[in-house]
Symmetry: C2
Subunit: 361 residues, 2 copies
Amino acid sequence: MKYLSSTLFITIIFLTLSICTDAQIVYTDASKFPLIGKITTETETRYERLPTYLKDKVSRPAIWTLGKNTSGLAVLFNSNSTSISAKWEVLNNVKMNHMTDTGIKGLDLYCWKDNQWQFVRSARPEGKVTEQVIISNMTAEEREYMLFLPLYDGVSSLSIGVDSTAFIALPGILYTDVENPIVVYGTSITQGGCATRPGMSYTNILTRWMNREFINLGFSGNGQLDYEIAEVMAQRKDAGLFILDFVPNVDEAKIKERTKHFVNIIRKKNPLTPILFMESIIYPHSVFDMQTARNIVAKNAALHTEFETLKEDGDKNVYYLKGDNLINKDGEGTVDGIHLTDLGFQHIAKTLMEKINSILQ
Amino acid sequence: MKYLSSTLFITIIFLTLSICTDAQIVYTDASKFPLIGKITTETETRYERLPTYLKDKVSRPAIWTLGKNTSGLAVLFNSNSTSISAKWEVLNNVKMNHMTDTGIKGLDLYCWKDNQWQFVRSARPEGKVTEQVIISNMTAEEREYMLFLPLYDGVSSLSIGVDSTAFIALPGILYTDVENPIVVYGTSITQGGCATRPGMSYTNILTRWMNREFINLGFSGNGQLDYEIAEVMAQRKDAGLFILDFVPNVDEAKIKERTKHFVNIIRKKNPLTPILFMESIIYPHSVFDMQTARNIVAKNAALHTEFETLKEDGDKNVYYLKGDNLINKDGEGTVDGIHLTDLGFQHIAKTLMEKINSILQ
């Protein structure tokens, strides 16, 4: 080696660098890695939210369809690769005019760095099937990753790609506490409409900020206090907290008619678990639309009455969060007056985290 | 009237209310109302940004095409209608996977309320042509409105609808100072990629916050220091400030080669107007992507050298804004590591406003 000519030596270095740079991407099926955010593992396929037994038993077909959306689900893995890629197929190739495709059916990669989850980069979907380098040119260090799945579409297959010269493995350290998950039931807002990328729904933000598993049971337009969903929630007797964020999807009458029974279903199997009631956000356009303004006031008041009744009936573990500080007071937190943007989601996550900490302390 | 039976009286009230509720929507062509945000009125059609004379003279066809995008343009009007509707046709029905259709080709309505511009609601596009009620159920008060146009598409026609029983008129008070506009030149970020709705691009936020006309000359992927754009800018001798935000679209060599000449073109006709140089934002994914990190550092350093040279050459009216506090330090201000979300845009607007105020005071 000592006698290796300098030209040859340089050639070898160049070849080695070139091999490193041109390293093939090797894909591993993501089913090999842990998945967080599911209420149950007994589902038709891996990447969905509702138990198989509900298939023909939901109140409306839409609930079952929305259960196949992967909101709140994230894959955890560890790798020393200089690049991370993904190959994934979505179920329905959903499109909406007020939400990005990246939020609807893209992926969102985070990495544990300096004691917190740091945004790495999102993967922008190109149709039903996408293959994409998410990040490259990293130093070859071992890192813990969290990959958030689509908010408003399903995933029929998912593989994660790393350099052929690198490893990909189970998480070395599980930074997310999965012992006592926080289960959140609600609407399109709960499901993540209209975050620009999967990591920016409020349950996914809180998963990162609180290092705790959040289970997302948001059903766009269908958070209508359906009792079969309360049954599913009730089965998670290890839950640390149940959050109920359904008001935008029900009218005053339904709140009065269904809230108590919905809560009773959860309570039967979880007599002491804290339950947090969330009021509806104050839609920014209700500053002008008087009918919407009156409607929000009436529905929030109806929720408050239900909450007070439950307390008067002796439930010491119910909590309440008013709607007036859920989103930005400057009126800028939504895309359409109703659905939150990343600005709105970061604000609601801050308010909720404070409340959750005060409940769980 | 005194003797009108109470039943008849109630019937009349009901009929009147019903007429008010069912009021027809009457449309007025928006060309009747003032438009802000244009560098010149000498354009091929009303809703575009570049002067007609440039049509066959741009460095690249993309610049001309992007000039037809209506980023930064807003229509001002006054009405006492209880509802505001819009009917508009877009040029190209553009779609992108990391920006909402609402931001690309929707409309965004604001109203002057409590001494500031307050978000009313956005209009979500349904294709090439859309007709939509933006807001309804308002009290029948006279109000001043600002309607922001699409960020990433053109507008071939636009009408504003109000109740048949109401009026629509020229602005009663012009809250936006159009005397000394601030002209901003740059990239996709400048153009508003990827705000969720038109009002959330940084120049549109600043138009509202500073009650001042901002002229948006952001050209997605094409803020490449093209001298013909400097010529267009130079003609606005009434400009209060020129902002140059081109770094993300040029490499180090181009910064060195073109900055001075670009500035000289503006300077020839505007010897004393302040010019603000903006560094590139620090892309959040550059925390991991070392090549991107090095690239940003090198390009920002090259810009700083150009700035220092101009100062040394005796220009006392050049200013500089570093890139390190332009977007959220938590890494959450973008959709894809590069293009800002509403979260990123609100942050960059705050930083810029502070800087602009310090320059103009």
